[in-house]
Amino acid sequence: MDYNATTPLRPEVLEAMLPFYREHFGNPSSVHWAGRMVSGAVEKAREQVARLINASPAEIVFTSCGSEGDNLALKGTVEALKDKGNHIITTAVEHPAVLNTCEFLEKNGCEVTYLPVDAEGMIDLAQLEAAITEKTILISAMWGNNETGTIFPIKEIGAIARKYKVRFHTDAVQAVGKLPVDVQKAGVDLLVISGHKIGAPKGVGAIYIRRGARMVPLIHGGHQERNRRAGTHNVAGIVGLGLACELAGRHLEENAARLKALRDKLERGIVERIPEVKVNGHPTRRLPNTLNVSFAYIEGESLLLNFDMKGVAASSGSACTSGSLEPSHVMGAMGVDIALAHSSTRFSLGPDSSEEDVDYILEILPPIVARLREMSPLYPG
């Protein structure tokens, strides 16, 4: 129930990877036989990734994770387009890989506009359009939010970006594999994918870079990836990412519909069984697998630990930020009251989630909530 944090490696993906650990250990950029055997596999994976998002293989660059992709998208654009301008527009609810990179860029001469969101986590397109200046070189807006699941109107943002000839990057780490993602229809120029969110291993990702979009590499060095990303390829990981993308593309919409039905059942069940809960995020424009709920009067971590003891994983704020003490910046941006932000808990379903899992959570949740509320000095009951 914490598949937005990470997903298990799919067994067929691991099977596909193993030969590249056991037999084919060559370096794909090397001329000799050991190298040639693997370069074909890397190119096949590139096609598989490209197909899932309707790109061409030459537009796919392999990376080590989603965070690297976001850093490359932002820093690589700022370097490449510095003669054109220095203004970036992003949103207040991006992943730290985007937000902290923007903060770094601000220290280095960029200006960044952080678009606010409403109570449902949605941006206002008119505000976006109004924020564009002569100096704007990039709009960076995520496809689906990792904490709340709120889906931004990517196509409309793409149209605005086109209209003003501004480059458009989307962090699609949470969207790919859960929604149909088509870079042509969406009009995006850069799009970031992370392997471990879609059944591929940790330590591999990809970025789509539209043909002709100039970028300065984040990692300089050898000629790998047509000079867009140096470093020896994580061959097995790349092979795994390719297959995971292919698998994600199969029955994408049926799978999404199944998860949505389960998620809706969980949501209804919680709202019916437990008083004083608040669902965070957009009621309809939301990733089909994601449910974020605040249980008033209870601090999130204590709830998670109770789940934990019952074998259920969930998260409070995002896994990536759980090292921090600040309540979630996403809840903050949505204007959620600080105590309720503390109470927010994310359930995110994945391919292995079943009806029984949902029933089990609905069974264990009420007594846990009751017990923790009894312990809370805030609880009026």
Partner: protein, 124 residues
């Protein structure tokens, strides 16, 4: 990341609740994370006879709350004033580095409750 002792006190917290007509009440908030703890005391002959707590906070906050109540019961007020946050964390076999601040709640709330008792005494 939590020790077994922490998990024990978290899952079976001792002395949860309120004491009606408590002799002393202390409430503190943790500035760094917004968590809150409230301690209720029953005092007889300068000795802490009973302690109860309520906590809105993380696992470490709940465990330290529970532990501090156990450590305080039976102590004289002076002895209880000497209970430190570090002693509570130690009694739990330690806390992860990024959770050390949570133990501040525990002893601080206890000390506030004792001060509150003394003020009441002074006033009464």
């Amino acid at each position: 990341m939590y020790t077994e002792k922490v998990m024990d006190h978290f899952s079976n917290p001792r002395n949860v609740g309120e004491i009606e007509n408590a002799d002393g009440v202390g409430e503190v908030g943790n500035a760094s994370c917004g968590d809150i703890m409230k301690i209720f005391l029953k005092v007889e002959d300068n000795i802490i006879k009973d302690v109860k707590f309520k906590t809105f906070g993380c696992g470490a906050a709940i465990a330290t709350s529970s532990m501090v109540t156990e450590m305080a019961i039976g102590k004289t007020l002076d002895e209880a004033m000497e209970l430190t946050n570090a002693a509570v964390a130690d009694a739990l076999d330690g806390l992860p580095a990024n959770k050390m601040h949570c133990s501040n709640l525990a002893a601080d709330a206890l000390h506030e409750a004792i001060k509150n008792y003394k003020e009441k005494q002074g006033a009464g």
